[in-house]
Symmetry: C3
Subunit: 344 residues, 3 copies
Amino acid sequence: MEFEKLKSCDPSIKIFKENSFNGLVEGITTIEQLKSHHLIFVKDKKYYSKLLDHLKINPADQLVLFIGQSMVEQINQSEFENYLNRFSLIVTVADLSLSICLLSKVFYDEFTKAYDNLNDGRLESQIDPSVLMAPHVFIGKNVKIGKNVMIHSGCNILSGSSIGDDTILYPNVTIYSNVFIGSNCRIHASSVIGADGFGYYYKQGIHHKIWHYGGVVIGNNVEVGACSTIDAGTFVPTTIGDGSKIDNLVQIAHNCTVKNGVIFCGQSALSGSCQVGNFVVFAGKSGMGPDTSLGDGSQVGGGALVSKDWPAGAKLAGHPAREVGDWLRSNAFIQNGIKKNNKR
Amino acid sequence: MEFEKLKSCDPSIKIFKENSFNGLVEGITTIEQLKSHHLIFVKDKKYYSKLLDHLKINPADQLVLFIGQSMVEQINQSEFENYLNRFSLIVTVADLSLSICLLSKVFYDEFTKAYDNLNDGRLESQIDPSVLMAPHVFIGKNVKIGKNVMIHSGCNILSGSSIGDDTILYPNVTIYSNVFIGSNCRIHASSVIGADGFGYYYKQGIHHKIWHYGGVVIGNNVEVGACSTIDAGTFVPTTIGDGSKIDNLVQIAHNCTVKNGVIFCGQSALSGSCQVGNFVVFAGKSGMGPDTSLGDGSQVGGGALVSKDWPAGAKLAGHPAREVGDWLRSNAFIQNGIKKNNKR
Amino acid sequence: MEFEKLKSCDPSIKIFKENSFNGLVEGITTIEQLKSHHLIFVKDKKYYSKLLDHLKINPADQLVLFIGQSMVEQINQSEFENYLNRFSLIVTVADLSLSICLLSKVFYDEFTKAYDNLNDGRLESQIDPSVLMAPHVFIGKNVKIGKNVMIHSGCNILSGSSIGDDTILYPNVTIYSNVFIGSNCRIHASSVIGADGFGYYYKQGIHHKIWHYGGVVIGNNVEVGACSTIDAGTFVPTTIGDGSKIDNLVQIAHNCTVKNGVIFCGQSALSGSCQVGNFVVFAGKSGMGPDTSLGDGSQVGGGALVSKDWPAGAKLAGHPAREVGDWLRSNAFIQNGIKKNNKR
C-alpha cells in the first residue's frame, strides 16, 4: 500500500525522519516477526530497545516506525540517535493507540476486500480429489484442502485458509479467512477458528476497534473440542503447536503463542498475547491473564488464574495462581483460623 | 387473549375483585415496562408497593393482578385498600409460581404459533435488496433485514426478528424469534441470541418451566463474539446497549439490562435479571450473581464473582467480589499467615 | 472381533491364562456395565476386587481380562487365585494405558466404519412421517426419529443416533453417532452432543488418544442450553437422567452419570467420570473435578469447584468446595484479619 494512502487515515501523522523510503508499506508487523517493507508501532522506549535487539537477528529492511508524540524525546536521546538512520521512515502521531485502530482498519479492509465470503468459491480453490465433503458446506476462494480431509455438514471454510492432509472437521465448524490448519487434526462441532481478536482502545466514550487480520496457524495432530474458539492475531498469527489438545468451550485469545503438546481441559482460557511453553497442562476452568507466560511443562490446577510469568515446571493453583504448596498452605491456614474461632 | 381461556389453564384461579374489566389480556408485563391490558404477577407486598409507584409514572390501564393466596391479607390492609379499584381485575391463585409457569406457557404458545420456523419464509420477509446473503441460510417469516447487511453461510434468523443496517452475521449464527439487533453490529460465528431463558419452578419432584418469550433487544455498534449466548427475557426483553462489546463464550442470561459501552471479556457471564451500568468492564471469567446490579463505570477483575449490588465506579476482585484493595489485603494477610507458620 | 486381530494391535500382549475362550471379543466394557464376550482393563488390585464383586450381581460370561505386567503378582496372590478360572482369558501387556489407547482405536474404527456421516442417509433412516424438518439438515444412516420431532435448520444427526417423540432441536445442533435422546426434550442452538471424550495417555512426548465410542444417553424432559457440550463416554455412555435441565455453555465430560432432575446453570461443568445424584443443583460457573461424586439433593454454589466426594444434601461453596458455613466463616476470618491489620 502507498504510504500516502495511510497518511489520509490519520491526519495527525507527521514525518519525523526519512531515509531513502520507497513510499510503500506492505503491512503491519511486530518485533516477534519482523518483516521488510512493514510498519511497526513503537509504544515506548522499552519496545524500541527490543526492536533494536531483534533487528540484529532479523535485519528487516524498509521499516516504517510509528511513534507517539511523547516518544520523540526518548528516541532522540544520544543512546538511540545513532540508530535512527536504521529506519526508512519515522513518523509521529498524536495518539498512537488511536493510530493503531485507524491503520489496522486500512489493512483489514485491504485484506478482506480480496475475499468474497458470501458466494461459494470452491471452483476457485484447490481441493484434493480425495477430500470427502458433506452437503451444506461453504468453501470460499483460494482455499487449499489436502488429501483425505473429511468435512462434515454445515462447515464453513472462508477464503484464503488451508486445511492439511487427513484432518477432520466435524459439523458446523467455522474457519475464518487466513487460518492455516496442519495435518491429522480433529476439529469438533461448532468450534470457531480465526474470529476477530477482542481488542479496543477506549477514548471519549467510544471503544475504537483494533482490526485483527493476523489469522491463526495450527500445527499437526492438534485436536480442538466442541464450541471452542481460537481468535485471529492482530498483525501476526495466533499459533498452536503440534500435538496440542484442546477440550470443549476453551478460549484462546488473539496473539497467543502455544507451543507443542499443550493440554487445555474444558472451559480453560488464555487472554490476549499469552506465551505457553511445551507440554503445559491447563486443568478445567483455569486461565491466564493478558501478556503472561508459562515455561515448558508447567501445570495449572483447576480454576487457577495465572496473573504473572512463571518459569518451566511451575505447578500452580488458586487465584491468583501460586505454587501448589503455597495454595495448600493458604487453605490450611484459613481452616486453622476458623477452628480457633470456633473454640472460643 | 380472552381471560376465560387463561382461567382454564390454572383451575385455582379465583376472582378477588373486579372493576369494569373488559375480559381481554394481551400479555404478561412487569413493573419495569408496564403496559395496559396486561397481566402482572405480584409476589409480595414489596412488589405491590413498587407497582403502585410505577403506576404514578406510567398509568397503565386495564391491568389484571395475579396474587397468591397468602397475599390476600397483605393487599387488604388499609394502606393498600384504596388502590384496589386501580385494577380492572384481581385474582388469587393457589401457587403464584406455578401460575407463572402455566400462564407463561399459554402466551408462549400464542406467540410462537404465529411463527413457522421450519419452512423458509424469506418471501414473506422484508429484506433490503442490498443485503448480501450466503447459501445455506434460513430466514423465517416477518423478518426485517436492513441495508447492506451481510449474512454468512449457516445463519438462521427466525420469524419476527430484525437486523439493522450494515450489521454482519458471521457463519452459523442463530437469531431466535423476537430478537431486534441494531445497526453496524458484528455477530461472530456459532453465537446464539434469544434462546429460552433458564427458569424453572421446582415443585414435588418436577422442574416446571417458565416460558420465556420476551426476546432480546441489542443496540447499535455492538459486537458479539464466537459461541456467545444472550437469552430471551421472560416477558420483557433482555437488553444490550449501544457500543457494548462481548467477547467469546460469554453468557448473558434472561432479563438482564446492559447499558452502553459495556465490555465483556472471554467467558464472563451475567446471571438472570442483572443490571449493568454504562461502560462497566468485565474481565475474563468474571460474573454476576442473579438480580445484582453494578453502577456506571464499575470494573470487575478476572474471575471475580459479584454477589450483591455495587455503586458506580466500584473496582472489584475475588469471590465473593469485594473492592480490589480489600482483595489484595486478603491475599497479603493469607501470605503473611503462611510465612509465620513456616517460621515456627 | 477376533482376538487375533486385537493381538496384532499391541505386540506386547502375552497370554497369561486361558479357560475355554471362544476367541471372540465384542467390545470393551467396565465394571459398571459388565457384558459377556467383552474385554475389560484391570489397572490394579482394587479394581480387580470390585470386578469380582460386580460379577456376583452380574455374572457376565466369556470375559477377557487385560492386566499390566505389574498386576501379575497381585492377581496371583492366594486370595485371588481361586477366581482366575472365572475368566475366559487373561492377558498381560507391557503398558496397560497404552494398550487402552491402541485397543480403543480398533473398536472405534470398527464402530465408525459402519457409518457414513458425509452423505445424507435419511432414506436409510426411520423418520416418523409427523417429523417437521427445516432445510439444510443432515441426517445420517440408521437414525431413528420419533413422532412430532421438530428439527430446525442446520442440525446434524449422525448415523446410528435416535431422537424421542416431541423433542425439539433448535438450529445448528450437532448430534454425533451413538447418541440416544429421550422424548419431550429441548436442545438449543449450536449445542453439541456426543463429541469425543477428552482423554489421552502421555508417554515420551506424545499424547496418545483414548478413542471414545461409548456415546451418550439422555432421558426424557431434558433441556440443553445453547452452545453446551456433552461428550461421549469411552466404552459405556455418558448419561443424563430424566427431567434434568442444562443451561448455556455447560460442559459435561465423558463417562459422567447424571441422575434425574439435576440443574446445571450457565458455564457450570463436570470433569470426566463424575457421579451426580438426583436433584443436585449446580449454580453458575461451578464444577466438579474428575472422578468425584455428589449425593442426591446436593447444592453447589456459584463458582464452587468440587474436589472430592460429598454425601446427599451437601451444600457447598468456594474453591476447593467446602460446606457453605465453612466458606462463610473463611471469608469472615479473612475480613477480620484485614481489619486488625488496618488498625495497627
